[in-house]
């Protein structure tokens, strides 16, 4: 078995203290290997988004530890954390994903340029990433010249540009109609099949069903999980 690309070990996140103490996550463990997509489902306030923020180092746990590509986030200083986030982790949100003043290619190249990669090289990487999500032809368009589904594909390209192999997605299909939403999920699935590790937060079972494993969160705890699904071949045999 390969190592986890994203791992939460017995993670707890408590906000406030004493009387006003609220436990957003209470002892959650999740691991995502390269090539895997794990979906987290749960009602509002179940701790889904907190979990994703912790996985991306945007928030720190009050207990337990978070590891990204073998690095413990809690042991990093501020600069180290920022570098790790930029180098390893890509995000896709429901909206507000792209910078309106930049073209698709510029949006995708931006994190690489921030990482010190030369402009020409960053653009090449951006074009590769755009091609991988099937929107190479949109490279020079601005976000407002694209449909919602196209923008989300560009956001996925940006999340996985260059060496980044960890994709964190928070309701990435939220504002899209069901057909377009499904196309976005297919792209995420395909990128994971190509080796990325994906952690997807969604309240839609239909979208979670693209994942290898589905975890149900309620009141900050895992109440249920499907386990890792068997390989597609064995399913097809069962269905024929």
């Amino acid at each position: 078995m390969t190592e986890f690309a994203i791992e939460l070990r017995d993670v707890t996140r408590v906000h406030g203290s004493g009387e006003t103490e609220v436990s957003a996550l209470a002892g959650v463990s999740i691991g995502v290997r390269p090539g895997q997509l794990v979906a987290v489902m749960g009602p509002s306030g179940s701790g889904k988004s907190t979990l994703l923020q912790l996985a991306g180092g945007l928030d720190m746990p009050t207990g337990g530890s978070v590891h990204v590509e073998g690095v413990s986030l809690g042991e990093q200083n501020r600069a180290g954390l920022a570098a790790l986030r930029r180098r390893s982790v890509g995000y896709v949100f429901q909206d507000l994903n792209l910078i309106p003043a930049l073209t698709a290619a510029e949006n995708v190249a931006l994190p690489r340029e921030l990482d010190g990669v030369k402009v020409k090289r960053a653009r090449e990487e951006a074009l590769t990433a755009l091609r991988e999500v099937g929107v190479a032809d949109l490279a020079d368009r601005f976000p407002d010249e694209m449909s919602g589904g196209q923008q989300q594909r560009v956001a996925i390209a940006r999340a996985l540009v260059g060496p980044r192999r960890v994709l964190l997605a928070d309701e990435p299909t939220g504002a899209l109609d069901s057909y377009t939403g499904e196309a976005v999920l297919k792209v995420i699935r395909a990128r994971c099949d190509a080796g990325a590790a994906g952690l997807l937060v969604t309240h839609e079972a239909r979208h979670a069903a693209w994942a290898d494993q589905i975890v149900f969160l309620s009141d900050g705890k895992i109440v249920d999980e499907t386990g890792v699904a068997p390989a597609a071949d064995s399913l097809l045999e069962g269905a024929s």
Binding site: M41, P43, K186, R189, H203, E204, A205, R206, A208, A209, W210, A211, I214, F216, S218, V223, D224, E225, T226, A229, A232, L235, L236, G238, A239, S240
Partner: protein, 191 residues
Amino acid sequence: MSIKYGLLALLEREPMYGYQLRSEFERSTGATWPLNIGQVYTTLSRLHRDGLVEETGESDEQGKVVYRLTDPGRTDLARWFTTPVTQDDRPRDELAIKVALAVTTPGVDARAVVQAQRTATVRHLQELTRLKAGAAEEDIAWLLVLDSMIFRAESEVRWLDHSETRLARMPRPPVRPAAAAAETTTQEVPR
């Protein structure tokens, strides 16, 4: 599922014999509803009796009888396509009844029933999604059938999510003394 209209619809394409009808039916619906050849011939003879299909008079090299649609058959089929399916001839929903009874039966943890069902339904949803991921884009009939099953499973999950929240907000139901010691998931469901 009405085999009758399935066969009429296939015969609207072209005249066919029994085995051909069975394989075409399964191909069109992605083998979701396997038919046995006995069902096909029983239905064909009833359709023939009612004047909705007729024998073409030809037979293939093995001597199998070829059927075609009659005008009354065509009218009947057109009516079927334009009439919405009604809810009342679907079977009773065992799951809704089970959950409703779980709430009112002493010693049963309704939330555990809901969660166990949700895990099972989501797993089914994953299987359907994998079939869909593996299906060819041009196989539209099969994709439509899969989508239908996916949306139905999803709607069940949504209802279960909703029920879980409703149950979480409900005051704890009276627990039978014998079962009171057992914690949620380890409780046995009485038969």
